[in-house]
């Protein structure tokens, strides 16, 4: 597949601003659905809105499409104010969660639906439909009845129907949630490739953190109508801005910590089970979040040391409390000395290395650089 010029060459921060939210609020009666959203989405970006149900992500997506009016603030698409522009006049198209395939039309009529007002000749339009179907891997399906398609095929028709209009922004509302796991994973890869090829800005709504991590250039994590963190997938995973974000994305262990002192770009901590640790300011969450300070770390940043192995950095003693075997991985819950709540450690299973039993006294290797401080 050919890579689009924009997605291939130009770094994100140098690209044109495609969508700009400025202090967007949305009320439904007394319910405050969006609470001051400010964010910028760039041209050719694959952007995800991630959050639990009811967090406002779909509402935000629908303000881009024009299906929801905003109560205050502004939404700009490609530099133009959109408040008075109805959905049919916006340079956006949407792939709906239910796909919204018109059941009384054929596949080809569905894909060509948006071309009705296009001045091109019927032959050219038919060619465009054929190309769009080919792009989504449904070449030759044009004459079929739409209601006879499988879930995955419906999704492709919905994609072709939206992309044939060459929108500036493609909006995807949980497009993969109705598919089963295998097809979903396959479609994730196909969507990424397609996006790179056409170079259109994609905005995806999902509640599936794995999907967001796999597909996106950047992700906005939303809770209760606010963006809790906007970052690229790696930053989001490694340096979550709050305990809540950390909890929502993957598994994060937390241990209570006490701040002993700070200065020179470092914070000195006394962490339960780990002892005294120095972390850098970058590892600490920016603003205080209330509650007791704690350090967090991902299960894969810890390693259980077998006999004869030594830690490269630091190590702490503990007892294995629970073992969950996954085939390629084993999850151990380990009670570090002096801590009641076990921490989860994920270990890749290596041929010839036995899975340890519950109750085994063990040593855990870790590194201060992998910690995140929440305070």
């Amino acid at each position: 597949m050919t890579q689009n010029v924009i997605t291939a060459k130009v770094p994100l921060e140098q690209r044109r601003k495609m969508i700009e939210f400025d202090r967007v609020h949305k009320y439904y009666g007394d319910y405050h659905a969006l609470r001051g959203i400010t964010a910028t989405i760039r041209e050719g970006e694959f952007f995800s809105l991630l959050g639990p149900s009811g967090c406002g992500k779909t509402t935000l997506l629908r303000t881009i499409a024009g299906f929801e009016d905003i109560s205050s603030g502004s939404v700009l698409i490609d530099g133009k104010h959109m408040e008075d522009v109805p959905p049919n006049k916006r340079p956006t198209n949407m792939v709906f969660q239910s796909y919204a395939i018109f059941p009384h039309l054929s596949v080809g009529q569905n894909v060509g639906f948006g071309l009705r007002r296009d001045p091109r000749s019927e032959a050219e339009k038919a060619k465009a439909v054929e190309e769009a179907l080919e792009m989504v891997g449904l070449k030759g399906y044009g004459a079929r009845a739409a209601h006879a398609l499988s879930g995955g095929q419906r999704q492709r028709v919905a994609l072709a129907r939206a992309l044939i209009l060459k929108p500036k922004v493609l909006l995807l509302d949980e497009p993969l949630s109705a598919l089963d796991k295998k097809i979903r994973e396959q479609m994730q890869i196909e969507l990424i490739k397609l996006q790179r090829e056409v170079g259109i800005t994609f905005v995806l709504v999902t509640h599936d953190q794995e999907e967001a991590l796999v597909m996106s250039d950047r992700i906005a994590v939303m809770f209760e109508g606010e963006i809790a963190q906007l970052a690229d997938p790696e930053t989001l995973y490694r340096r979550p801005a709050s305990r809540r974000v950390a909890d929502f994305i993957g598994v994060m262990n937390f241990l209570p910590a006490k701040v002993l002192g700070e200065g020179n770009g470092h914070v000195q901590l006394e962490v339960a089970g780990l002892g005294q640790v120095d972390v850098t300011d970058e590892q600490a969450s920016a603003k205080p979040q209330g509650g007791e300070p704690a350090v967090g770390f991902r299960p894969e940043t810890l390693t259980i040391l077998y006999e004869g192995q030594t830690a490269q950095d630091r190590e702490s003693p503990g007892v294995i409390d629970e073992v969950v075997y996954y085939g390629d991985m084993t999850y151990y819950d380990v009670k570090l000395d002096g801590v009641e709540t076990p921490v989860r450690i994920s270990m890749r299973n290596v041929f010839g290395r036995p899975v340890l039993d519950v109750g085994t006294q063990t040593r855990v290797a870790w590194s201060p650089g992998a910690l995140v401080l929440f305070r």
């Binding site: 009016d69 905003i70 205050s72 502004s74 104010h81 408040e83 008075d84 109805p86």
Partner: protein, 293 residues
């Protein structure tokens, strides 16, 4: 930079909804709400023989309610309606239960279709057919006499029982459908749970099925009771005009005697009695309706 409030309202859901419903709503306002309000107003006007005098009075109500004939007719109407409702709902419940629980899913709509067909054939002729069946020389009498079971024909017409059975027949589908719907909504695993917890079939029916079906039963009662009290045809044809009900009285006051204020007062009184009886019934069954929601 945001849309002007008026444009924004014009695009809002509320505006679209009102706009969409307005043709139908305006029609109902002009031809239903306004006439009902007029009837209500008329009932407080004076009758000046063929004209209506626009002067407030409660005399129409006093006249109506002090008239023993009116009280008898109203009482008879309520009695007949109550009887019809009781008979109709009692007869309908087992059928609704049968279709919902015994008939296989693929045949259900066929059964419902079968039950609604008679309902869509001429009401007048259906009512009249009961006269044919119950008449002095009608189907039942001639059959029984032919078989030598009775010597002289039975007098069945012109009775409240005859009126009741005719109306029970006419309103059968109205009673079956709501009960069927509420029975269909019952989660079948609840019944299994009931039996699993050691209840007998009968007790499960009594303690689980029936309370859950009550919203449908109540709906059936309302939908049968309210229109039957205003039935005009059956008392005329089956009651032989000798057992008039309230609709016949309204018709007489309005058209034959042409005392519109009195007719209006009778109509309004009848509506209030219907509403009062209905509300009382709903109030007595309020706990079932809460469960239903």
């Amino acid at each position: 930079m945001s849309a002007s409030p008026i444009r924004r309202w014009a695009r809002s859901e509320a505006a679209s909804g009102w706009f969409m419903v307005s043709p139908t709503l305006i029609y109902a306002m002009l031809l239903l709400a306004a006439p009902l309000a007029t009837i209500f107003a008329y009932s407080f006007f004076k009758d000046g023989y063929l004209v209506v005098i626009h002067e407030f009075t409660t005399q129409n109500y006093i006249d109506a309610w002090s008239d023993p004939i009116f009280r008898t007719i109203l009482f008879r109407s309520v009695l007949v309606s109550a009887l019809v409702t009781l008979v109709t709902v009692l007869l309908a419940f087992p059928i609704a239960y049968f279709i919902s629980f015994v008939v296989p899913a693929s045949n259900k709509s066929r059964w419902l279709f079968l039950i609604t067909i008679p309902f869509w054939t001429s009401y007048l002729i259906r009512v009249f057919q009961w006269k044919v069946i119950l008449n002095f020389n009608g189907v039942i009498n001639s059959t029984l006499q032919g078989l030598g079971i009775i010597d002289s024909p039975l007098q069945m017409l012109n009775s409240i029982g005859a009126i009741a059975i005719t109306l029970a027949h006419a309103y059968a589908p109205f009673a079956i459908l709501p009960i069927f719907v509420s029975l269909e909504k019952i989660d079948r695993s609840l019944l299994e749970a009931g039996q699993d917890l050691g209840e007998s079939k009968l007790m499960t029916f009594w303690r689980v099925t029936l309370p859950l079906a009550m919203p449908g039963v109540i709906g059936a009662v309302m939908i049968v009771f309210i229109p039957t009290i205003g039935d005009y045809v059956t008392p005329e044809l089956i009651g032989g005009g000798k057992l008039p009900m309230v609709a016949n009285m309204i018709q007489k006051d309005m058209l034959k005697i042409d005392n519109k204020p009195l007719g209006a007062a009778v109509a309004v009184s009848a509506m209030f009695v219907v509403a009062a009886v209905s509300l009382l019934f709903l109030f007595l069954n309020r706990r079932f309706l809460k469960v239903g929601k």
